[in-house]
Symmetry: C2
Subunit: 139 residues, 2 copies
Amino acid sequence: MKYLHTMVRVTDLEASLDFYCNNLGLVEVRRKEVPAGRFTLVFLAAPGDKAGELELTWNWDPEEYTGGRNFGHLAYAVDDIYGLCQKLMDAGVTINRPPRDGHMAFVRSPDGISIELIQKGDDLPATEPWLSMPNEGSW
Amino acid sequence: MKYLHTMVRVTDLEASLDFYCNNLGLVEVRRKEVPAGRFTLVFLAAPGDKAGELELTWNWDPEEYTGGRNFGHLAYAVDDIYGLCQKLMDAGVTINRPPRDGHMAFVRSPDGISIELIQKGDDLPATEPWLSMPNEGSW
């Protein structure tokens, strides 16, 4: 038995690829367009470790997606949590739970999927501006 | 960067462990009880391939969880999709999308998390009772 992927639905494929790839740093592994069903599947993965994929389902006919409490979040280990959070902030992404401890942060995708970022290896030294940055919203 | 886990919240830890471990076949990798926060985290993984974990969060104070459309499902490759679906049915689990094609099935966790099961390698030959088994509910 083997874990393959987590699937999330996206309302705007371009906005989601911008978030997951350009900002977060995942890479597109493959894509399947299904005109008969009017949907596109895009499989993403962390660069250098493609074992666990994220499947984006984009239905061509507009839908709006909301979240539920039974799903919590997706978690990724990252090389430099401060650098990544800065890059996300610069791109206009809200850091809902800043990495005050040099260890953990939470952000949300354009469709409200909560993403946990965890520093690989030892925590980074606590430092500003992260140390005194308040939480914003929920995650 | 590396995918670590998907977290889901569970209302009843024992019922969830029965579903995910006894029925589905995942194994418990580690557990963390946090009395100060009144919650328990249990990390599960597919036996033999523990790269992508499933984190169950059980809050000790009762909550009821519902789903949202932004999250789709978790997917696992399985060795024998017919054998596993029979085991799940025998345990009282509804097969929402039976493996009519010997390739794919969907079930739901006690908290409504949709789980996709995909036959490893070649599809199994189409056979009864699966071939004529109707869908039940949504997934």
